[in-house]
Subunit: 348 residues, 2 copies
Amino acid sequence: MKTPLTIALDAMGGDHGAKVVIAGAARALADQPGLQYRLYGDEGLVYKQLERFEELARASTVIPTSVTISMDAKPSQALRAGRRDSSMWKAIEAVKKGEAHAVVSAGNTGALMAMSKICLKMLPNIERPAIAGIWPTIKQPCIVLDLGGNVGASATKLVDFALMGAAMSRAIFHIDKPSVGLLNIGVEEVKGVEEVKTAHAVLADSDLPVDYRGFIEGNDIGKGEVDVVVTEGFSGNIALKTAEGTARQMGVYLREAMNSSLISKLGALLASGGFRALKHRMDTRRYNGGSFLGLKGIVIKSHGGTDEIGYASAINYACEFVRAGLVERIATDVEHFHNTLNGHSLSG
Amino acid sequence: MKTPLTIALDAMGGDHGAKVVIAGAARALADQPGLQYRLYGDEGLVYKQLERFEELARASTVIPTSVTISMDAKPSQALRAGRRDSSMWKAIEAVKKGEAHAVVSAGNTGALMAMSKICLKMLPNIERPAIAGIWPTIKQPCIVLDLGGNVGASATKLVDFALMGAAMSRAIFHIDKPSVGLLNIGVEEVKGVEEVKTAHAVLADSDLPVDYRGFIEGNDIGKGEVDVVVTEGFSGNIALKTAEGTARQMGVYLREAMNSSLISKLGALLASGGFRALKHRMDTRRYNGGSFLGLKGIVIKSHGGTDEIGYASAINYACEFVRAGLVERIATDVEHFHNTLNGHSLSG
């Protein structure tokens, strides 16, 4: 690793642009002494925000860019409009050029994925990035992938996801041989799809560096049954969004229940310490950041609507990944697995 | 409709067998005056439970059966062992013979689906039953299907699901033209799979008896954005289980938070009325029952582990479906749609 540790930030990305990015960078700097930033964006806007953070200003190099990728642009439009001159492209390119160790953007997900793929390229044998997220459970948080990068996935891809998720688990949770579960459904005799069954057979009978635990169902994720949950991107994205929606729904139920009578309101006031603890535990900002795995570089997508606390989490994860040599570890594990396939892909 | 309204019950199904089935039947009888039952199961066990419920005993005909399908039998095993002589098969057959208007079982899902399909047959153009469930939201409950009957679904099937879900919404919620959303993911430019996109195009540009609202994401389900949520069975089952898991996870967080200090415990005690309201709202027993849609008869799968309150809900839904003429309505709507296809299925 080239020192000092340097992270490239797309300062224009996200619903709140430079304001949140810069404040988040300042917050992460407090967690990561010696960290350096390369900030890509509108010079005036970035410097204006930097005025508030003296130490951050010293740790940062500002690189002016002229184009901002809008949050609702299609990836193809973004590539046409933003190639070369956008804050997003330039920030990714910094990783390619070795000027930064990782890039964080809260911008347009599809554009970030398309640009990362073109600029950084995929690791051998990997076709498209998988999006991995950190999912809080009643035990320790787990990693779930793919959250939408690949709609549908072959058995080979599912095994790749298991390896990439395990490498990520090792990098941030320091688990030597992470436990892995394959998401499936339990309704039918012929359970699940062919790809999932084939991936199951491979994972169950291999010397891959994971502790494979077999099929799990949707309700096992929140129980913290495994360290890494593997599924293709369509069902993974639906699981993630459904969990977010259910958590919000429970929050509404709870608020309405506590406001249902004067005495309940009083009780809730008395229990405010407990409710603060609950709020902290349900605070997903600590887990903010979708990691694009399988690229020849570290790219983290921050939630577009997050605040500086969430943005700082994404930066902190990026730093962990760099220190752990995540890309190299994924490359090694995936290459080893594909060598055992002898150039064939798995049927199913 | 042949009077009186008669429901066939597989008295041996579920984790608790006749005990819960009979108590649930008694409870539903209080909601449905004049209801008649045909109870299929071990004579001794059933009569023993009936001793507790005089009115129910008068409203019931007991048909002794000699085989019980175990909860973990594979459907193929169940068909070999249980065809003809099992409580499950006999109860389904009662609908086929016109001796009952609907059947409820808390038994093995795969076996119930396989037997229903063989005994009752599918409606024209429908290949396999879709499993529809009632999903509580912050507004009115909605219907979600398929929850696992069909792994993967063509565009034609997805439109069939929309029609079947809408017919069910009309039957139990009396909504004339239910709003329908197609579950999709919002990450990629080329959003979702081909089948989903084709179904979207058909639903958006048709005279089908639904108020089509376009794509929705997982977090929109709990918001109550639409009356009917349509997806294929793999992602639908994962969404359902993930939501259940998340609700339980929130419950654990809440309990731990309220026990985090003495003063929070006191506050929670004071707010116990509010917590009771919350518990009631989160009580999924009121929505218990997966409806198998697309069959030439009404079949409801009760959750295997539910109690009499949950079981009674499943019976109550069965009664609503019979009164609304659900099967005929589905048959008409699906036939109309398939006629517009002129014998072709949708590409994608």
